[in-house]
Amino acid sequence: MAEVRLQGVSKRFGTTEAVTELDLEAADGEFVVLLGPTGAGKTTTLRLVAGLERPDTGRVFIGGRDVTDSTPAPRDVSFVFQQYSLYPHLSVFDNLAFPLRSPARRMPAAEIDARVREIAGLLHIEDKLGNRATQLSGGQMQRVAIGRALVRKPTVYLMDEPLSSLDAKLRAEMRIELKRIQRELGATILYVTHDQTEAMTMATRIGVLERGRLVQVGSPRNIYEDPVNTYVATRLGSPSINLVPRSLFPGVAAPAATVTIGVRTEHLRIRRSDGAAGRVKRVEHLGDQNHLHVTLADTDVVVLTDPDEGLGVGDCVSLELTAPLFFGADGARLRH
């Protein structure tokens, strides 16, 4: 596999700037996830790497070679789309073998056979090779679609929300499988999603995109624990980090320019305390944890608690912050 590098890449469609001066590198064997909401420029970035779009400015490198001006074919990337498109009249085997049978490749039949079986084994669909594509469940179909990308040995795999059409349970299984396959193949993957769980669990590094700009790149832990601004802070964590006015916690030592305090739900210590200003407004039982919605001076704060805590609606509580983050007027992180 090869590394991919984008250098100062910008792309505009009409008056909309889809990608702005993007610098990003995915090292050989790295799983890089681009995370952001709809319209952040994730898919455009993938298409720029694939050669389906040409940048207005900047360069694209694959395996150290400048491919900015080359067509898609010589870049030799493999693309998995959100909606799987299989050939319904072909068997699973033939669907998987299809990319290898292209006349340009002239791969011998025995080699094709071996490669298809290897990938089918990786995806746990070896017993389905004789089935028609239409006789599969949704999850199996998506595995075949991913398999069709994997049979080739391209420079890099580009994946555009490949799991978003699956149900929650299957998605959870596929996350683990995709990560395992990536490790076993030593593949370089550039993966696009708006799902924070996918990003957190699979990525070697996450790149957070906001309106075409790359705001922060780092390991999942780094992005979660050390966000550079409020936008990044709200990308990861479920429920979202609490962003509250600095004045809500006057006792907390904060940098002078602090306007907003960010505190994750697990970084609040809650105590029943008669006469305290906080009131429990609602208790959400999520099974393994409770989210207590506390109103404090007209501001809602969500606190993660143990289900056996025993606090109920109407209780007076006090809150203590264990690991607050501080942000200035423009949302940028402030440090002590």
């Binding site: 909401p37 929650a168 683990i176 924070q196 957190m200 999942p220 994750r264 959400e284 099974g287 393994d288």
Partner: protein, 366 residues
Amino acid sequence: MAEIRVEKLHKAFASFVAVRDSNFTVRNGDFFCLLGPSGCGKTTTLRMIAGLELPTSGRILLGDEDVTFKQASARDIAFVFQLFALYPHMNVRANISYPLRSQGMARSEVRRRVQEAAKTLRITHLLDHPVSGLSSGDRQRVALGRAIVREPLCFLMDEPLGALDAEFRELMCGELRALHDRLGATTVYVTHDQLEAMSMADTIAVMNQGVIEQLGSPREIYDRPSSLFVADFIGSPPMNLVRFRGRLARGDRHVRVNGADVAVPELQEDAEEGDLVLGVRPEHVRLTGDSAYRARVVESEYLGTTQIVTLSAADGSALKARLPADTEVRAGDQVGLAFHPDKLSLFEAHSGRALRTRLHAEAAGG
């Protein structure tokens, strides 16, 4: 608002039974979720309550009135669908006021109600915008607005958030529940998303193949699943279900699984020699050096607050544990497992039924 009673409700499409002998009551003011996988009969149940589908047998009562064979329009119910069907050529105000204008309501009253609905949904500033330019969240608010202006006895919602992305869904869950509380509404809500159900509902009916498998509060369903299906359907990741062979007698407090004695809530019934299943929620698994329950760490998924650790036990079974994110684990580590004894469930493998334990007795006693 009103109470909805469903009695022995049955619906067959030719030889396929979509809903089998359902009985439940949605209390006045209840937020009631029908939860299950696709094809379980939840939408058919909702459509019968709405009057969009007639039951094969059984009764539906709205308040004290038998509405089983009444037309949808004669029932004081508002329906919100998954796909927001808005009139694209009308603006937001016209879309919301449509149900009232078509009833011939006085214009001043229409105006008042639309204003109020818009205020509730925080879309007052959008009233004169065309619907075509709106974000999906705002479009769904408009669809809700059209339901609430009618001030109906109850709301029926069929996956109203299904088409939204995760971030919006979380936000709208909170808003829908707040709206329900503010209006004092009775809501029946269909979803396949357990998180939506768990976070919004007062009562959940878990459906599987046309049958209500369990009816209870989110906490009951989570803590004391009545069947293997419910145990496996609720929770993310779901309950670990570890098969073992054994026989149990009333009063037993231990089971022997994977070569270890595992403390469980005291049994309240006997189970003959056979295949049994121990149910353990991932958050009730702890790593400990000295336990006889041995396993190997396969991998760990980092989730910020916590991590999900996949384990392979000595008997070949796979388990998942939810541990604090700062617990250090490495693939290949040999570890011992301990389970929270007061939280475990036991099932009969062949019927899938939960065995009665002290947990059930305590719940029944208060």
